[in-house]
């Protein structure tokens, strides 16, 4: 515990090392006590009961899971602050606060959050929280702990970025020269390496390179000013038009009185 643990942690997934064994998939299910969701785990898709999946794309195995963004869109859009980013990296969810507006799902650039659509009364948003309990306790994530080939590796974010760059440097021609997640939407806690373009593996490559929450905050932070100015302006108009009517009425009366005299 201590300062050491507060350093942001991350996961590095190297798809060239993945053999598609599904150990991470199983470990995630075990850790989160999730039921079976697929006959063939390679065909499974993210759902309320599958928080990470291993899929085959372009003859490689890839993992899909919450990217646990550095500046998470879901955290910024949640009206009740049910989603929080902890200093260690995980983005986690508090169901007791949630009112179920699903703005997090709408806003997530990676389409990660899932929903318990079948639950009529207490549905939860479901997503990988990077094993927040384990990570804050100084352990690595369940998926990283069982990976037999080291395709999923847990560590400090800075160190992992460095390691990813070293792997690219030391194996010329093996990797695409890009560590996915260093700058995508302002950076993520899940970093990816691949030997073919990320697009063919199903990862979006057209994402903005800056944090999305800025897009709405640019407008929202102006609101207090707009309200203040608008309020004063309208009160002013109200006063002026009222005064104008009063003056007109007084003048009319004066004129009438003048005629009578």
């Amino acid at each position: 515990m201590g300062v050491q643990n507060l350093k942001p942690k991350a996961l590095l997934f190297d798809s060239t090392r993945c053999i598609g064994c599904g150990a991470c998939y199983d470990a995630c299910k075990e850790k989160n006590k999730l039921p079976q969701t697929a006959v063939n785990f390679l065909r499974d898709d993210l759902s309320a009961d599958a928080l990470t999946v291993v899929n085959r794309r372009n003859n490689r195995y890839i993992r899909r899971m919450c990217m646990n963004c550095e500046e998470p869109t879901c955290v910024s859009v949640c009206p009740v602050a049910a989603l929080t980013k902890s200093p260690e990296g995980p983005v986690s969810y508090d169901a007791s606060k949630c009112m179920g507006c699903r703005y997090c799902m709408q806003a997530c650039p990676f389409n990660i959050p899932q929903y318990e659509w079948d639950n009529p009364i207490t549905p939860r948003v479901r997503k990988c929280d990077m094993c927040r309990d384990r990570v804050t306790a100084g352990l690595q994530t369940a998926c990283a702990s069982v990976c037999p080939t080291g395709a999923t590796k847990f560590g400090g974010r800075e160190e992992l970025i460095e390691e990813a760059r070293t792997r690219i440097r030391n194996n010329p021609g093996r990797y695409v020269d890009h560590v996915y997640g260093v700058t995508e939407v302002g950076g993520t806690s899940v970093l990816l390496l691949a030997d073919v373009s990320f697009e063919t593996l199903g990862y979006r490559t057209d994402l903005l390179q800056e944090p999305l929450p800025q897009l709405t905050w640019n407008v929202l932070h102006k609101l207090p000013k707009i309200v203040g100015v608008g309020g004063v302006l309208m009160s002013g108009i109200w006063w002026i038009t009222k005064r104008r009517d009063e003056v007109q009425r007084a003048e009319r009366e004066e004129r009438l009185r003048g005629k009578h005299q």
């Binding site: 009740v80 602050a81 929903y115 994402l207 707009i226």
Partner: protein, 531 residues
């Protein structure tokens, strides 16, 4: 001598329609709160917001535009001539917000937590602001509306307090409502990767705001026209005329800004492309913006009651189209699913709207929405047969039918304009379906043979070995036992792959007899090389 006279309500066309809608809505409501959203909606993780947000919330808020426009004109700008329509306008706004709140109760996963934004703050969230706006403005509208009830109850003191607070309430209401209109646009600023470029713009809040002003004028014309027809008396036509001009100017500003914005982003060309989105966009702009501008600028049309009413109606419908395009059409392509509301979603929406009409009718009957003299004129002749909706059934019948007909024409024109686009629309490529072995829902449906299996080796290996099931067995009637032992239970879908049984899954075959054993660690290396 009083005789209790219970008469079965007369069966009329509109009552039958109302009954059918409300029955369907009741069924859908029961379904929603017992079986959940999956049983009632076509929503999914890829399309989490449907028509309940796109129509009920976005357009319910819009209904209030008439309320804040008229109350600002009367109370803040002191243009007293508009006073006669202030009550119906506020009533409509109040009902609009009721539509929003009821819609939210259906849409929110945990509606009982709807009050949470009041104590659990996140000022960075647009939804947080929207939540506060809905709460505050509903309260303001309720207060603005309360004199009608208080008058009936003859509660003098509260009435005096509320009336005294009218101006601050109106200022607060105008601020909240305009903020709310634009913040519904801000809501979509966070999805630059999902909303189609024809609608996504950094100026979304501005567009939402300007179109709300045009809508406010149009709603006022619309409401006045209805009251005009219902009570053969309304406000001076010349005033509505001017409002029509204001609407035209607002729409023109909207149009110019829109064109410049789209040109600046280089997406002007998208509008004329024969895509689904392009056609929907053109329909929205032609029918809801350019059409009304032209109509309102022609004096002969503007000075004609019917012409003005049609133009106003077109503005309203164009507005609705715009909101639905932003919420649904524009999100369609990136989502990869073709969302269309289920009948239960439509039934709930229709029921809420129908309930709104019903409440409007009841309010008109029991409260002094329109001034007393006018009401007396109306009811004197046929008091004996005044049913719930009589006050606005008979004279309004033609106007309502007219509104519906124009709405139908509008929808028809839209469909006609976008029909080609719909047909030609290429289904968005499902990334998950690549190689046929990833999309679980598709795969489960056609699970006959598994997809390709990659046998990946280490760096010393000449390369990846892909075993294609499809090439080795007949996909229509696969004989799995040719290669796999009969204990291999892939097809029975009962294969136990739960986490605890991890080794059993491989171990079923890798038992040292059928294939190399999983327990012999040294033999693992014969297939899996270590990095």
């Amino acid at each position: 001598m009083s005789k209790i006279n219970f008469r079965f309500p007369k069966i009329t066309f509109w009552r039958v329609i109302l009954f059918v809608i409300l029955t369907a809505g009741f069924y859908a409501t029961v379904l929603r709160f017992t079986k959940g959203l999956s049983a009632t909606t076509n929503l999914s993780a890829r399309f989490p917001w449907g028509i309940w947000i796109g129509f009920d919330v976005m357009c319910g808020v819009a209904l209030a535009a008439g309320g804040f426009t008229v109350s600002a004109v009367v109370y803040i700008f002191h243009i007293e001539k508009y006073h006669p329509i202030i009550r119906p306008a506020i009533l409509t706004a109040f009902l609009g917000y009721l539509l929003v709140c009821v819609g939210l109760v259906f849409d929110l996963g945990r509606p009982y937590n709807i009050w949470h934004p009041l104590i659990m703050w996140n000022p960075h969230s647009v939804m947080f602001e929207v939540g506060w706006c809905v709460t505050l403005y509903s309260t303001v509208l309720a207060l603005e509306f309360s004199p009608l009830v208080l008058e009936k109850l003859r509660w003098r003191r509260p009435l005096k307090i509320v009336k005294g607070a009218t101006v601050p309430l109106v200022i607060l209401g105008v601020l909240l409502s305009t903020m709310h209109q634009s913040s519904l646009g801000t809501l979509y600023l966070i999805v630059p990767h999902k909303l189609h470029a024809l609608w996504y713009s950094p100026l979304l809040p501005v567009f939402f705001f300007i179109s709300a002003i045009a809508l406010g004028c149009a709603m006022t014309i619309f409401e006045s026209y209805l009251s005009l027809r219902a009570f053969r008396k309304g406000i001076e036509f010349e005033l509505l005329n001017k409002l029509g001009l204001v609407a035209a100017v607002a729409l023109f500003v909207y149009l110019v800004l829109k064109v410049f914005d789209m040109d600046g982003r280089g997406v002007l060309g998208l509008a004329i492309q024969p895509t689904y989105e392009g056609r929907m966009f053109m329909a929205e702009m032609l029918l809801g913006v350019i059409g009304p501008i032209v109509m309102l600028l022609i004096p002969r049309v503007r000075n004609n009651q019917f012409g003005l009413f049609v133009a106003a109606l077109m503005v309203v419908l164009g507005f609705v189209m715009n909101r639905i395009n932003v919420a649904i059409t524009g999100m369609d392509r990136s989502s990869g699913v073709n969302y269309f509301p289920s009948w239960t979603e439509l039934a709930v929406t229709a029921s809420i709207v129908a309930a709104g009409f019903l409440l409007f009718g009841l309010a008109v009957k029991y409260l002094d929405v329109f001034s007393r003299d006018e009401m007396d004129n109306i009811t004197r002749g046929k008091r004996s047969e005044l049913p719930v909706l009589a006050a606005f059934r008979q004279p309004l019948w033609s106007a309502t039918t007219l509104a519906l007909l124009i709405g139908l024409v509008f929808m028809g024109a839209t469909v006609a304009l976008s029909y080609d686009g719909v047909r030609r629309r290429v289904p968005a490529p499902e990334p998950a379906a690549e190689n046929g072995d990833v999309n679980i829902s598709a795969a489960l449906g056609e699970l006959r043979v598994p997809g390709d299996v990659a046998i990946k080796m280490g760096e010393s290996s000449p390369g990846l070995v892909i075993f294609s099931h499809a090439r080795h067995v007949a996909t229509a009637k696969p004989n799995c036992n040719g290669c796999h032992s009969s204990q291999f239970r892939m097809l029975s879908s009962s294969a136990d792959i739960s986490p605890g049984k991890k080794m059993q899954r491989c171990g079923q075959c890798h038992d040292g007899i059928k294939a190399i054993s999983t327990t012999n660690k040294e033999l693992c290396d014969s297939c899996h090389t270590r990095h």
